[in-house]
Amino acid sequence: MNAAARTIRRWRTVDIVVAATIAVAFGVVFWAWGILWNAVAPVFVAFPPAQGFMTSIWLVPGVLGGLIIRKPGAAIFCELVAALIEALLGSSWGMLDVVSGLAQSVGPELVFAVFAYRRWGLGVAIGAGAMAGLGNTVNDLITSYATWPFGWMATYGGLIIISATVVAGAGSWWLTRALARAGALTPFASARG
């Protein structure tokens, strides 16, 4: 591995701590999202895909962490820390959150790896979001909906993947760009597009 490649792979302290801080921020966001959800949920009752939309916000930290930090493992690290913080703050699923976090972030990590951690465009972000949705679907079907007939499983998965593509994929890409424009990403290569 040449020197340039080593620079790409090696995690600096700032990479580690900012990835974890993004996860901590999402600990706050998840908590607030729960409150907002309770307030607007009645509106969405007649519109079941909203369920997927709600779930998708849990998939954001992994994709976003990957897009901002641009290091191998960033997606998994970010999503795992976010899940751990949610568990420590007191979640009804406890440490099971960590298992879900892993299931939700392996997919996006694979997508970033396939592009050798060199491509960070909207297409890659959407792919990562979709894979996060797929991982989340598999996790949900195993833990919660194991007796459903295949047709139902496929429909549920399709809805989650679509909303994950929009919220976690395109949404994370939009957030990364907005953060770069606001000058918040100066320590990272993602600041320069």
């Binding site: 701590v17 801080t21 901590v24 406890g94 440490m95």
Partner: protein, 249 residues
């Protein structure tokens, strides 16, 4: 357990157990029960867990706050699977009980674990990468500041004349704007924290240990007990002829 309103008593058995041992026991139970979806296997595990629950030391308020949503979630899961699923009431019951059996030890582990102890245990007992574990622990210091910033962002939106009212679309748009502003603050704070850690020599060489994390006999008993419990549950259920594997009709 974060903040000064602990979810569990610190003198409880679970609070004194090694976090790595608790984590392993939790994951062993989860992995073993995910394979089987009949209510007997999970029911045996859940029954033992409930008998042992007092050792978790959960405070009544925490038990209520975490337990009620879990119960509601488990019951609705059972109903949904009964209606939609192919396994009928028995199948729905299986998934309900399985969820509870997996979640209960997870809640006890999370509620009774101090983040610093968890970090020490992950590094010293499970040999996870130290820079990452310590980096995550350090970032946790920013949680109160970021929570306060979220409240300030809400006040500031109102001050600027922004209010969602009953419009869910506006609510989501305002929410996204707040997420953006919170992330700006978080990334800047994280960068400063990383610099402060570098200034104190973080990551310049092998680290020493101010605290030691050890497995005591009780920790080994906990891990072994979890393994024995799930094995026994599977065998008993198989003996009754009720044992059913995931995704088999």
């Amino acid at each position: 357990m974060i903040g000064t309103a602990p979810l569990a008593r610190t003198d409880a058995w679970a609070a004194r157990a090694n976090p790595a041992a608790k984590l392993i026991a939790t994951l062993v139970i989860a992995a073993a029960l995910l394979v089987a979806i009949d209510p007997v296997t999970s029911g045996i595990v859940l029954a033992v867990e409930l008998v042992l629950l007092p050792a978790g030391g959960l405070r009544p308020r925490a038990l209520l706050r975490l337990g009620v949503p879990l119960l509601v979630g488990a019951v609705s899961l059972g109903v949904v699977n009964t209606i939609i699923g192919t396994g009928g009431v028995w199948g729905g019951l299986g998934l309900s009980v399985r969820l509870l059996a997996i979640a209960v030890p997870g809640i006890v582990t999370a509620a009774s674990t101090d983040p610093t102890d968890l970090c020490d245990a992950l590094v010293q007992r499970l040999h996870l990468p130290e820079r990452f574990a310590v980096g995550a622990l350090a970032a946790l210091r920013l949680l109160p500041m970021l929570a306060a910033e979220w409240r300030t962002l809400s006040l500031a939106r109102r001050a600027r004349g922004l209010e969602a009212g009953r419009n869910p679309l506006a609510a989501v748009r305002i929410f996204a704007g707040k997420v953006f502003a919170l992330l700006v603050r978080a990334i800047r704070a994280g960068t400063l924290l990383a610099t402060a850690m570098d200034a104190r020599g973080f990551g310049t060489g092998p680290r020493g240990r101010a605290r030691t994390s050890v497995f005591r006999p009780g920790d080994y008993a906990l891990m072994a007990g979890a393994l024995i419990l799930v094995t026994a549950a599977h065998l008993v259920s198989a003996g009754f002829g009720t044992w059913r594997v995931l995704f088999t009709g």
